[in-house]
């Protein structure tokens, strides 16, 4: 675990075209605390970013043999991150505190995670600790309706920044917030009127920020937003980590592209839980914690899927109960939000 401490945190900033990624980055980079943050952007947009560690990358993807989109390697990122690592290790730049990768509006964040976790060198030096997604309060609802990529970006997010709330109508913004919460109940939501947001809070993994206020009329734990579903599950006891690995690796192989996101804490009968975090096929290296972060010592895991119905997942976990060593129970939304 000592290697975990030395890895440089990476933040992936996604968001639909014109949703305010660059405006947000401009504000963020102006803060004194981000002096040693390197930024990789796809294009120098109209909003001038001025920062000494700014690098432009041309999106070059290499599709691997299996042909799945999320298991592609971004060669451009490998090159750019290696260059930063070399500069850092030769002492030519101060030690990097963080690398921020801005994606193009249409990009799926999964290949970026795959690139970092699959590269034999990068995986030991970088670790993605945060996926930030910007959603524009004015055009966001339209993007979510029309573009599946936009839903994927929200599902992949650890934090969602709702921008342009200053010019959106109050009602529209409220409905949008509730919708974001339904797509991804585990994400923390920030509002950024005029691009103003608390940089320190935003870049702290975990940290403050509120979960999307649910409009509270739907009491059930299964959320449907069109094709996207989310379900939170707990177990009536400790589960067998090996059995969970079998079930989940099998699920990802069969339905990987339909599992947009998984996030949770699992009680595996040890002193602390296992932190599970995955975007499509890409599973962050699971961390076995030494202790529980709070009083609640139950497993809690959330699945965000596309086309896979929550009941199917629950029935499957129920069928696997002998192997898992515990029975799955659906969790209510308000109990499920307390994720790390």
């Amino acid at each position: 675990m000592e290697d975990r401490d030395t890895r440089r945190p990476v933040t992936v900033v996604t968001g639909f075209l014109g949703s305010g990624k660059t405006t947000l980055l401009t504000k963020v980079l102006a803060a004194p605390s981000t002096a040693n943050t390197a930024v990789l952007v796809n294009e120098f947009g109209e909003v001038g970013l001025d920062h000494h560690l700014l690098r432009r990358v041309d999106e070059r993807t290499v599709l691997l043999g299996s042909g799945c989109v999320c298991c592609t390697t971004r060669e451009d990122l490998v090159g750019a991150l290696m260059e930063l690592l070399n500069l850092d290790q030769r002492g030519e730049i101060p030690r990097l505190d963080r690398v921020v990768i801005e994606t193009t509006g249409l990009a799926d964040p999964a290949p970026i995670l795959h690139t970092i976790y699959a590269d034999p060198v990068l995986q030991h030096h970088f670790s993605v600790d945060l996926v930030l997604t910007t959603v524009d309060a004015v055009n966001g609802p339209l993007h979510l309706d029309r573009n599946p990529e936009s839903v994927k970006q929200v599902a992949a997010a650890d934090k969602v920044v709702v921008t342009k709330t200053d010019i959106a109508e109050l009602g529209v913004a409220r409905v949008l917030l509730s919708r974001l919460g339904k797509i991804n109940p585990s994400a923390r939501i920030f509002e950024a009127a005029f691009g103003e947001v608390d940089v320190h809070e935003l870049f702290r993994p975990g940290g403050e920020g509120t979960h999307a206020p649910s409009l509270a009329e739907e009491p059930d734990e299964l959320h449907d937003t069109g094709e996207t579903h989310s379900v939170s599950v707990t177990f009536d006891g400790a589960i067998d980590w090996t059995a969970f690995g079998i079930w989940f690796s099998m699920l990802l192989n069969a339905r990987g592209e339909d599992v947009l996101r998984v996030k949770g804490l699992l009680d595996v009968g040890e002193a602390g839980p296992v932190v599970l975090n995955g975007v499509q096929h890409i599973i962050h290296p699971p961390e076995h914690l030494g202790e529980w972060p709070d009083e609640d010592r139950r497993s809690r895991i959330i699945f965000i899927t596309k086309g896979v119905h929550p009941e199917e997942l629950l029935n499957s976990l129920l069928a696997f109960r002998d192997l898992l060593g515990a029975q799955p129970l659906p969790l209510h939304a308000e109990q499920s939000v307390a994720f790390p």
């Binding site: 000592e2 079998i246 339905r255 290296p285 029935n315 499957s316």
Partner: protein, 117 residues
Amino acid sequence: MCVLCGQDFVAQVHWTDRHLENRARASGPGSDPVAFQGDRRRDRAHRVVLTNEVLRHYGLRVEDWGGSKYVLRDRKGRSELVQDLGSLWPAAAKLAGRRPDPLDSALCEALSAAHEG
């Protein structure tokens, strides 16, 4: 692959193996290597038993192969060598002629029947 011992140098540790890998690293130099090997062997044996419960439905069996890989066999004597759970499922799909799916209702019924029986 190392030509002397036949071990692969696996650059990519599958997430299901990460737990043991981390424990091996955390133990550091000077710790008892045999204790870790015991854990690892137990863990692999346990995984083989559980995986076979699922693979039975597809007419397949998996065995530990020298503590470094797994060998997956069907009843016609065909076999595939796999590194971890990440490569096991595609190989199982190839041998079984269909993709093992935990949401498959027939598999769920078979596992539930085993629970009641």
